[in-house]
């Protein structure tokens, strides 16, 4: 059953444009220029129950806007969406009791009080049965290893510990759909890993539907089979993570170790030399030329070891983002309409 159905969803904002300087500030008192920013431009997406989907995209691509639309914080300019059968922006309590949104950069817990108090408040807001509440809270705090921190004021917790508490607060009411907006932002490697491990475990056991945005490829690679790439408000890819490399990674990296101990002087004619530290060298070669280049290299030089690898995922994604951004840059004059209003 599809938990999330989105059709032609779009959202545009109007932002005030202010030129630099004091004169412009005074001018802005009388006449303001607005620019329409199309954050989301017609998205179609269907997510089945129990899927763990990653939203990837550069900053400002429309990921967070989409999550805000799906959690009912904002109303779309066009299109429709249904989550668990509800229209999110109607903000019905029946819907609000069944999903949760966690934002890595915002906290919902009471700053000066122990997390246990915020949890207690959630118990009542979400009308969780006392026994179920105790059970869920103990289970979650044990899984994340923070039970001993329950009675410590939130302001005295580390960033990683706080994030764990945020996650617990969001999961106490056992939501069927969970939106995670950069949940591991700013965390150290260990805290990131712990949160990843927890999310994977929780999702597998509970079979809930999760949409995640993250800039950490490690999060995505560890958690999500399905990846949706958004750039300039449109979906440009929907598939597996490895599929991204096949489709957008136009290059492969050939690593060579020469028996002679010397690196051939004419290496650059085979491809872009990424590094050369005798006797090893790394070459970047267009995917379709790999067989030809390899054959040529092996015919002319004595090679002790050779590997052919996909480029690092981050690199492929950066390439994909920049190629997706290009058309909009060239259309800048036309796309974001400049509207003048008195």
């Amino acid at each position: 059953m599809a938990h999330i159905e989105i059709q032609n969803l779009s959202k545009s904002y109007r932002v005030y444009q202010k030129k630099e300087g004091l004169a412009a500030s005074f001018g802005g008192l009388f006449r303001r220029r607005y620019r329409t920013v199309e954050a989301v431009r017609g998205i179609d997406l269907e997510v089945e129950q129990g899927e763990f989907v990653a939203f990837l995209g550069p900053n400002g691509a429309g990921k967070t806007t989409t999550l805000k639309l799906l959690s009912g914080v904002i109303t779309p300019t066009g299109g429709t969406a249904r989550v668990l059968g509800h229209v999110p922006w109607k903000r019905e309590n029946a819907y609000r009791r069944r999903f949760a949104l966690v934002m890595g950069q915002k906290n919902q817990l009471w700053w000066d009080l122990p997390a246990a108090e915020s949890f207690r408040l959630h118990q009542h807001i979400y009308r969780i049965e006392p026994e179920r509440f105790d059970r869920t809270r103990d289970e979650l705090t044990d899984l994340l290893g923070v039970r001993h921190l329950l009675s410590q004021p939130v302001r005295e917790l580390s960033l990683g510990e706080r994030m764990k508490m945020e996650l617990i607060a969001a999961l106490l009411h056992s939501p069927d759909v969970l939106f995670l907006d950069e949940p591991t932002i700013g965390l150290d490697v260990i805290a990131q890993y712990n949160i990843q491990r927890f999310l994977r475990h929780y999702q597998q056991v509970r079979k809930i539907t999760i949409l995640l945005t993250s800039h950490y490829m490690k999060d995505v690679a560890a958690l999500c089979r399905r990846v949706v790439v958004i750039a300039s408000g449109r979906i440009i890819y929907d598939g597996s993570l490895s599929g991204i490399v096949d489709r957008f990674g136009g290059h492969k990296v050939i690593s060579l170790q020469f028996t002679s101990g010397q690196i051939p002087a004419d290496l650059a004619r085979y491809g872009e030399v990424l590094s050369e530290v005798a006797p090893r060298a790394r070459l970047r070669v267009a995917r379709n030329l790999v067989p030809e280049v390899l054959a040529g290299l092996l015919a002319r030089h004595v090679v002790e070891d050779v590997t052919v690898e996909d480029p690092p995922l981050e690199e492929v994604i950066a390439e994909m983002f920049s190629s997706a951004e290009k058309p909009t840059v060239s259309q800048l004059g036309q796309v974001p309409e400049l509207l003048e209003e008195e």
Binding site: V73, R96, M103, K106, D112, L113, L121, Q123, I125, Y126
Partner: protein, 271 residues
Amino acid sequence: MHALAATWWTVLRISLEERLVYRGDFALSTLMRFLPIVTQIFLWAAVFSATTKTEIAGYRYEEFVAYYLLTMITRAFSSMPGLASGIARDIRDGTVKKYLIQPIDMLGFLLAYRIAHKLVYYVVALGPFALVFFLCRGFFDGWPAPHMMAAYVASLVMAFLLGFFLEATIGMIGFWFLEVSSLLFVYMLFNFFFSGHMFPIDMLPGIWGELVRMLPLQYLAYFPSAVFLGKVTGVELARGLLVQLGWVVFFIVTSRLAFHFGVRRYSGYGG
């Protein structure tokens, strides 16, 4: 119904705990409240010593002092420090999202929070207030009759509700204008002069007096004190209480509408 009451109770309890975290700040701000009134008492003492009149605008010296002391109590109910600016800040920095995502009513939540805030304040302030009133008992002509006392308590409770919903409405202007601090400043200024905080508003002559009596502000300071002092009685008292109730209802509705339309406009500032 039971679930709603339980939620309220939890909000109240947690707010109380939060308020008690900063005990020192709280005790100090409570004591500081008594400072302005001392200057008022000295001012009127100076005014009366410079004139041969025993009454100014219908108030004797003792009545002035009693009035200011009572106004202090009314203000303890009706003033809402940080409410409007807090709502505006939550709108600007995106914290308001919490109330859109979670199945909780923002105004209800803030009201429970504010009641808790006030309760802690009364507990802390009770001692100092009792002491000041005991020392100043000579300025009062005894306790009002029971029915006047009842009217006084009713007007105090309504002063609290009016203060809350009026300031909440002002805070919601933040949905339209992200910065409301100068607007708040103007409101505070008006409130100071026309609520009766600065002087009893029935002192104002002619058209100004008429105008100020049409505003809801007098119910935030002047009216309850005047009821206690027996300045408003009979039909006038009943009408006053009804008008005050009318203003409370008006601002409950206005704040609800402002929230409804404000949220519509809200586009999720602050990431």
